[in-house]
Subunit: 493 residues, 2 copies
């Protein structure tokens, strides 16, 4: 479906195929799902330099970054395959029968997660591999037992098509049903809506803008049957610069953040766009070093001309707000489609009065808020919306003395970092990449790490089933050797 | 807020108090939450005969049933308290740091579930204790660390008010913050909407009708910030009567189902409203016994006059459909507000042609569908909507020979029973009381059993936190002795 524009009828045919594949794929043992995922990793690796070259042309991301991201994508596929096979995510629970219970006998009950059905995934502009065609959402859906239909990101459609061929090859080699994976290239809103509203679409994964993520959620809300929409829509990722910490190491913290703010031309959803401190010499010295460091950073080419244009506009709007001071701009002039590293500053009061300053400026831009005291910093926190991450730069003294401030921060974030930077999202079970709205549409689920598999599954209880007909995961004797909760005790036996 | 009509301003004041309570309550250790829940159980027990008497007056449910349900409510509170304390539900995951990892050091990351915030619960008409004021939703929310605001069911408002006093007493005795529990009596849609749409409402639990449950979901969709709505809206709970099983024991199966259909005047959300078999002598003999048994069952007083009126209307509508035959009606005439046990029958084709027959008739009513063969039975299944339960009455031979039919059934249900009845919902970890829409608005969560706690929680990752400031659940050395996944291995150490 790559060249000619696809129709609503094509979408229907695609989802029909996907549903048919679902009814086969979900019966496959965990081992076979894992095999498929590992085969995709192999096929992506086999795309070699072609893939890197294509992605470089489409996204302007540098070679090293793309090779790193490709490695991450392969790691994700393999690591979610391992998790899939380990089976702990199935939440197998068994309560055995008690025929002698009074007044009524207790039946045998066994529960596990089963896949939801076809998942529609919208790829991200800023991660052409790791959050796109064979990225985290796709890997999680395959692990859960769901077929995937990708809406390719138009900014890297050729890269997406290449990755799609790798998935189809892997599917063929490992005997997957036809329809296990579909690939849609379109810029039509009508087609996007048809994908979300099709009866056989059972969940949606999305990484991108607030506007885009909310639109998908609203389309889903128009359905007769509600389906979960997992939109990860980025955030401004506030960093709280606590007084004792700044007294000890304002310069080091400033250097660390100059790097984090400008890394990858600021195009991470965990980019720290808001730094909040308390007025005084230490914050001034932090600002001075941050400004010096940011001026040294050259502008970089952004992912695509649309993003570069938005950056120029949003940055101009932010800098033009009342009481906003421009603290530092890169010493190097920006070429076409480049983003200029920029730091601004405003008082706590100016921030509280102006919601424009609470919005993400996607790119290498950060604003430093100078609060007059801790009370104002807390007021600022209580006015912030939901965030993927919040970071506290704090000494042990700062932490011990600011329990109430820390509690306020907990209300609004999905990941809470102390003395680090929010950029850099580990792929592991303990990662939560999510957060209260508007960071995501569902704060209860992560889009990074193997717990993301649970987005695409629901429990089914099997009551009074003869052992031989139960799924292997729930059979007596635990033939798969997975962790299960039997009569309220976790066990492998 | 019991006597005078409450206002939108009162709702705001209530949720403000609830939010304040949330910020205290969530900091309490699991042990203290459990203590509160156990104290509620004690206070409910202490209400003694007063509670039973009041509920009998309001619901017309018999003494024994209400005493049983009170016991179940107390059991739920104690059992979810145990689960809360055991801490397995927190899904604690730890990945330890690796400072030597190349190219970048790996940070220490620890994740656990934290409570969402205030939960609004709509009590059910058919379970004045177990699914109402101090019922499963409330117990699950308290276990998760969330305050609760109850919208009392107007059909048993005095019962609800009594239970509320028990909760407040327990709260006082165990030192809970003011605002941990709120109680709203109203019939106003505006107030209902204000409860769902308040900024501080973070989740909704509901048990009741499709219309009611969908209305709450739609109100929630109008919010700026999406919140999860867990509406359990009942279902028709199809039962598939397989040929070999009927050949062996048509009479026994019929007797079993005559009881299940008419139990508690058919007022269970798991009441089997649809029995599907294949035309022939065995199905005829099943129908004959079922009719004989149902005729013997006397009508019973329904929960309230509104439900009795709906039953009369819906039953009349169902019986008046083309090609629907009335098979059995209770030999005893119904008094005012009573529901008459009734069995109807129709062909597979009539069922396929008429969506009215797919709808639940809440009360002691069931329709038997006579399919012409297994193929038609499968067609019927593929036309059914989502269900809380599906049941297969089947011999091992039936099961072995009908894998494709079983797969179709799996698509549409939350609990899948073999050779039993769907009525009777065990309170245990392996119970899934939920199912695809329209059984619920979110098939991924249960409203019975301790896994229901997870409806009201979200994960937070703590990155690079000094050990002393981490929550106890995530500290080195596992001071609470809970199950945690450490570097991908489940362990208590």
């Amino acid at each position: 479906m790559s060249k000619k524009e696809i129709t609503v009828q094509d979408v229907d045919a695609l989802l029909q195929k996907s549903w048919k594949a679902f009814r086969e794929y979900r019966k496959f043992p965990l081992k076979k799902r894992a095999e498929f995922m590992r085969a995709i990793a192999v096929e992506i690796d086999a795309l070699g330099d072609d893939l890197i070259k294509t992605a470089m042309e489409e996204t302007a991301l540098p070679d090293a970054r793309l090779r790193g991201e490709k490695g991450r994508t392969i790691f994700q596929l393999n690591s979610y395959a391992d998790t899939c096979e380990r089976g702990q995510w199935l939440e197998a629970r068994i309560d055995t029968a008690d025929p002698n219970r009074a007044p009524l006998p207790k039946p045998d009950l066994r529960k596990m997660l089963v896949p939801l059905g076809p998942v529609v995934v919208y790829g991200a502009s800023n991660f052409p591999f790791a959050f796109s065609t064979a990225g985290g959402d796709t890997a999680a859906a395959f692990a859960a037992g769901c077929p995937v239909v990708i809406k390719a990101h138009s900014a890297h459609a050729r890269t997406s098509a290449l990755v799609a061929t790798a998935i189809w090859k892997a599917a063929e080699k490992t005997g997957m049903p036809d329809g296990i994976f579909g690939h849609v290239e379109t810029n039509s809103r009508e087609i996007g809506k048809a994908l979300i509203q099709h009866t056989y679409t059972k969940a949606v994964g999305f990484t991108g803008s607030l506007t885009g993520g909310v639109a998908l959620w609203e389309w889903a809300n128009q359905r007769k049957e509600p389906i979960p929409v997992f939109s990860e829509m980025g955030s401004i990722n506030p960093v709280f610069l606590m007084p004792d910490k700044l007294k000890q190491s304002a310069t080091d913290v400033a250097k660390m953040y100059a790097t984090s703010i400008t890394q990858s031309v600021g195009q991470f959803c965990t980019n720290p766009g808001l730094l909040i401190g308390i007025e005084g010499d230490d914050l001034n010295s932090f600002l001075k070093t941050l400004a010096e460091e940011v001026r040294k950073v050259s502008p970089g080419t952004m992912l695509h001309p649309g993003i570069a244009k938005s950056y120029v506009e949003n940055r101009a709007t932010a800098l033009a707000q009342a009481d906003v001071e421009t603290v530092a701009v890169s010493d190097t002039a920006a070429a076409e489609n480049q983003g200029t590293p920029t730091v601004a500053s405003a008082s706590g009061q100016a921030f509280l009065n102006n919601p424009v300053l609470h919005k993400e400026v996607f790119g290498p831009y950060s604003i430093v808020i100078r609060c007059k005291d801790l009370a104002e910093m807390k007021e600022v926190i209580s006015h912030l919306e939901g965030q993927l991450t919040c970071t506290l730069m704090a000494s042990d003294k700062d932490i011990a003395e600011n329990n109430d401030l820390i509690e306020l921060v907990k209300d609004i974030c999905g990941r809470f970092i102390i003395n680090g930077v929010p950029t850099g999202v580990e792929v592991c079970l303990s990662m939560h990449h999510g957060g209260p709205f508007p960071a995501t549409t569902d704060s209860r689920f992560t889009s990074v790490g193997a717990d993301g598999i649970k987005r695409f599954a629901r429990p089914v209880s099997f009551q009074n089933w003869p052992n031989e007909f139960l799924p292997d995961e729930l059979k007596e004797g635990n033939p798969l050797g997975i962790w299960r909760t039997v009569n309220n005790e976790l066990t492998k036996s």
